[in-house]
Amino acid sequence: MAKMNDFLGQVLATRGGERVMDCYQCGTCSGSCPVFTEMKYGPRQIMHMIHLGLEDKVLPSPDIWYCVSCYSCASRCPRGIEIADVMAALRSLALQKGFTQDKEAKLCRAFAETVRQHGRSFEPELLARYYARTLDLPGLLRQIPLGLKMLYKGKLPLLPKHVENTRAWRKIFAPAEGKEKETEC
């Protein structure tokens, strides 16, 4: 086995990350990715940067948060790499290592907390949690026209709805909470 940098070793140890060394940079993943245009690097370059151990580029990158887990990359990857799972593992690593300051990470955490609370998303709370984290008052104000529109069309509930069986829901969340406070979203 070739000498590995620490970061590559950490990725190899994650679930789904076992085969990142197999990547031969064909670009099928980036070509398949529906959010590639939003990304800074795209999955192919992320793989390459993992090989090179460029942790300080990979973990703060917005790409890992933009991944929508559609799995197009993984199902087409000719090397059998679970790319979407690698992205999830990278998010997890990013949180563990304190890369929580990006607005993408903050949105994810706000979303996770909202869902943990009610078992489903509740937009007003999500917004409150997100903007409380980012302290982006102008940003929040910019959302108001859209919010009013949604309210008018009945798309914005004023009170949260809970899932019916909250106990079962908590059970699903429990292992993740127990394992690590700083979980991925």
Binding site: G27, C29, G31, G42, R79
Partner: protein, 620 residues
Amino acid sequence: MVDAARHPNIKILSYAEVQRVDGYIGNFKVKVLQKPRYVLEDRCNGCGLCAPVCPIEVPNEFEEGIAPRRAIYVPQPQAVPLIYTIDMDNCIECYKCVDACGSLHAIDFSQKPEEIDLDVGTIIVATGFDIFDPTPIEEYGYGQYDNVLTAIELERLHNSAGPTVGRLTRPSDGQIPRRVAFVQCVGSRDSRYHEYCSGFCCMYTIKNALVLKGMYPDMEITIFYIDIRAPAKSYEEFYQRARNEGIRFIQGRPAQVTEDPDTRNLIIEAEDRNLGEVIDLEAEMVVLSTAAVPRQGADTLGQVLTIPRDPSGFYMEYHPKLRPIDTPTEGVFLAGAAQGPKDIPASVAQGSGAAARAGRIMAVDKWEIEPIVAYVWEDRCINATGKKCGICTTKCPYNAITVEPGQAAHVIPAICHGCGACVAECPHNAITQMHFTDAQIIAQMHALLAETPEEKVLALMCHWCSFGGADTAGTSHFEYPATSRGIRVMCSARMDRDFIFEAFRLGAGMVLASGCHQQDCHYITGQQHAAKRFDKLASALEKMGISPERFRIEWISAAEGDKYARVITEMDRTLKELGVERIKAENEQTREKLAKRLRRWREVPEVAEVLGGGDDGQDE
């Protein structure tokens, strides 16, 4: 091919299948099934008057189904031999062909399959390859979109002898496409289908691109590739020529191909790696460079000829570097893509090589083999007493041993390669290997462990790899403790469990069993037999009272001199950590138990003689 047909010493049996091969180098007996053509070979002159009158049309296999053929047909106009065949699955027996044939009377509907027995000295396997069917790769749309073709279909479409007389047309509308895209590595270099690189697709794609450019200079041609592989003579120059002639190369494997339902054009989505951008390229035709795959039926033929296949399914050569044309069955050789994907120059070279390898044998009356073959003591073989055994045949990687009920096992020396797997596995010690007999190996052990055995590391090595590894350690001046003593056998498969027991009974401090890595084994499955045999040996030894770390198994290649030195150094360290006193005590305590294990061996007079004397004379 025409020359071959005319040669006085070459007989071509086409439309025939090899059913069975018996015998050995110089003396093969081959059973061939000649399928009925319903056309008499000695009468048909290939005039072709029969085909046009045939009312049946079915897809022509040679034209990849693009054109029809009749039920009475030749595969292609240049076929050798040029004899027509009636495809009985589709023939309606209207006998119009019989009338057309007229006074030649070449058509005979009463023909039956015929078995032909051949005596041959050598066999060359040149069964070629098949083309991967890209239908399962749904994202490329082959089979869904008419204008997505395989490279072999394109080959027929631009061939002047092909169904369109060399005019490249789109299947959907018959128009000449102005924009054509090629996609490389379809089904190859892909862990979902075939891991290997097919090797020649880069070159035939560049060739096809240049051919199209020559025919239609205004055509926009794009090749999507991962890596261009152009390593052989003049290939790189050919690739450069294609770039100079304006063929576009885009590095990036397409993610998907979709069709515009109105124009039937195709949209290729891919990341252009060098731009770092995802592009949508519209093409009027997409050509997939599909993998070369093992020939259908390669497994059956491999069993008939006792030649193994590699993990990708192609026939395995005897040795990848030193004997790339030979097979593990002496007298059987490989030529062309049956061994692995190959282009024309490489296939021709290997074919010439195979002919020369076979000619070497055909030119002499007697063929010498290594004298290290297995030998059965018939009076000791349990199978001769009427009990069913036959363990030896199941262990032989070459099918060199035959066992008939009530008779002793029989080794065919010309097939035996001398690995010794049967010798080590025979529960009745009824087989030995010439020049590597049990008695000889035990005698070596006794000599090496005559003095202070508890301070020694005894290494059993296979000839090809670990012995070579020890040699490399020496020539490279890798240092390792002088306490090691080595014994060489041909294969780790020869290493009898009893050798280990005997070594510990003699008081050896440490014992190493070593051989080739599994994929390097020079006797196909020899290493696997050894690995299985030694798998639980350490725990068996532990039950008897020997510390399990005193027995070690290592697979060491001939290049791994450093590994050999490291393993011996580590074992010596373990020996010192355990301490000579503890080892002596363990040996004292287990000697009798080990001697009991070796009781059956003692029934072999030759072995008993070497084992005898000293404290091991008494068993019970």
